[in-house]
Symmetry: C2
Subunit: 355 residues, 2 copies
């Protein structure tokens, strides 16, 4: 890893702010960006001088490797503003580590910690007016890296661009989520890149997800590609199943993203005295539990959606609808987590980091 | 599919040509591009007016879906100039069909045939001075499509760019190719996107290929991800094995690219009276055949490398070196194929198409 004096991030300020055009009460996820972005190029084996500058399109060569061979990774994280107008990050060290794990798997250079962390902190400070307070508001943060080297030889690029974008977000309301359990399609191979936040993993899911949408399901729950018997995760969420009073979720593996919401919920649930069992969860047990009434809840967990209740699932053309329950684990855990993230409750875990 | 009057491709010519700066005798694969490129945008549910214009970088929004979710596909084809200065394509209809199959799998719009075909023909005509004659020279053609829509919501883009680039190529000399048989990593999942020419499939292979390179192997032969017992394909080539006088190659599947060189060689070999067996080929048979001396040849087949002889393979830390043979199937088939493509011999299969 090369070192760079990031206390020297060059800052070019936008001449005017777009903030007055933004309707913060009616935000859609991911289509409004703040006035600035952070950028750092990798060239000649080294990270170059980082810069914060006005958000704007940039020039790419048509033969750039990202277009042809898909070297592209990203992270998704959130910042929250508390009542004192302080801005907080949630476990940013976990995103940083995962980003560099993804980089390694995609044969891309690691980003030095001071570039990643200083970049996002200074960017948040500059655009701090965009970070809204209260009521589920947050700033979605999108660090990403793409291969910018030119040439269509199928090998790793020698030039990259690391960027951070900020997009203000409201409490994510995904509507009623019904899911389809994958019987044919899959998102990850053994020995593949499923555990990396690699761009290509997501495009691969769009077609099967479109098919599910047409049948009235908003998401697919992926199963292992070899046997389709084990429940793995959803598009951008890990999944939890409550059978009687035990919370089940699949162990992470090469095929499953090691979600930060997932691992936080596991710790929180345990500290609440909930019995958590991290082990392969079979489709057959789920169906069985749905039939005999022991299946109490299903929910997804991820940065964007936080905790998303799943209302029912379909498997082999049979739809199993969940019976809504009081005091669900989903609602308890969601409240605990968001209160901690928003600094409404105390952070007993030491997960929040001040910007 | 929308229709467009592509006889009306707008053409903006470069003011000067870069051709005089190109050393055609010392070309590296894929790093020199001709003066022009073809471009057509998809917007508002329709393909827009196609254009041929000077090769140049273009503007992309930092939140473009291709950067974040990897919607990107491509094709690889070649054009050849014969002694009458006519330019010929090899089975372009196959590339066109495969391109749209890839598009469907990646939830991208199909490209209309007249845009794809007229685009590449008119581009080749405009840059025809760049298409060199003889001695293994060809023009490598790279049609590709990327998602240009802005926004970081994980769903398909509603805007795309289809482009064609041209890169002059010499006979591809890959050096001595030793391969490693994959025991842990893999390139494709059952129910995944291995059969699509999706950008993300290639980046996924770079890291394991780098590891193989470090051990002295140029390529990896991928095996099925569930059991690692079946031989599938290499990075950008399908693979053939000759055991005694039978030529073996894996059947295409969801995990394997349906290579045009592969299917052409199968037909040619059959018409030569060679016994071809398309069936799953086990790693264990390969090892067994290498040990008992019945393994005569291994070679890869693909547009870029044409036919590439594999000198030896490693499996479970044992290296098996091939004994070079006279009149190999690889050399016979390569000669037949390249003579047909270059219009040196007659095209009994009807595979060549004049530009
Ligand atoms: C495939 C996938 N699984 C799970 C998650 C949840 O991870 P996290 O809780 O770290 O956001 C994500 C991402 O956001 C994801 O992309
Ligand atoms: C993964 C893969 N396999 C095989 C091939 C060979 O296909 P073709 O002969 O059509 O070039 C290619 C591409 O060029 C490829 O990318």
């Amino acid at each position: 890893m090369s070192t760079t004096q990031t206390n020297k991030i060059e800052i070019i300020k936008a001449s005017t702010s777009k903030i007055k055009d933004v309707d913060f009460d009616n935000l859609h996820f991911g289509d409004v960006f703040t006035d600035h972005l952070f950028e750092c190029d990798f060239k000649n084996g080294e990270w170059q001088k980082p810069i914060i500058k006005p958000y704007a399109p940039f020039l790419m060569d048509p033969s750039s490797k990202v277009f042809h061979y898909g070297q592209a990774i990203f992270e998704g994280m959130k910042a929250y503003k508390d009542d004192n107008n302080d801005i907080w990050l949630f476990r940013p060290d976990e995103n940083f580590k995962r980003f560099n794990n993804s980089a390694t798997r995609m044969a891309m250079p690691e980003v030095p910690e001071e570039i990643f962390m200083e970049g996002l902190k200074q960017l948040l400070q500059l655009d701090e007016a965009w970070v809204q307070k209260g009521n589920g508001s947050s700033m979605y943060i999108r660090p990403f890296m793409i291969a910018t080297g030119a040439g269509v030889m199928a090998n790793p690029s020698d030039e990259y661009k690391f960027m951070i974008l900020l997009s203000p977000a409201k409490a994510y309301y995904s509507g009623e989520v019904k899911v389809l359990i994958a019987e044919h399609f899959s998102r990850a191979a053994n020995g593949g890149i499923g555990a990396a936040k690699a761009a290509g993993n997501y495009a691969a899911q769009f077609y099967p997800t479109n098919l599910a949408n047409k049948e009235g399901f908003q998401q697919v729950i992926w199963t292992d590609d070899a046997t389709h018997t084990k429940l793995e995760e959803a598009g951008t969420m890990n999944v939890f199943f409550r059978i009687n009073n035990t919370l089940l979720t699949a162990p992470t593996s090469e095929r499953i993203l090691d979600g930060i919401t997932r691992k936080s919920l596991i710790e929180m649930a345990k500290s609440e005295g909930i019995n958590v069992d991290v082990r392969p969860v079979l489709v057959s047990e789920l169906v069985e539990a749905a039939k005999n009434g022991s299946l109490k809840e299903i929910f997804g967990a991820g940065t964007a959606a936080v905790v998303s209740v799943i209302k029912g699932f379909s498997y082999q053309d049979v739809y199993y609808e969940m019976t809504p329950i009081e005091n669900s684990y989903a609602s308890q855990l969601k409240e605990k987590l968001t209160n901690l993230q928003n600094k409404i409750s105390e952070d007993a875990f030491g997960w929040t980091v001040k910007v």
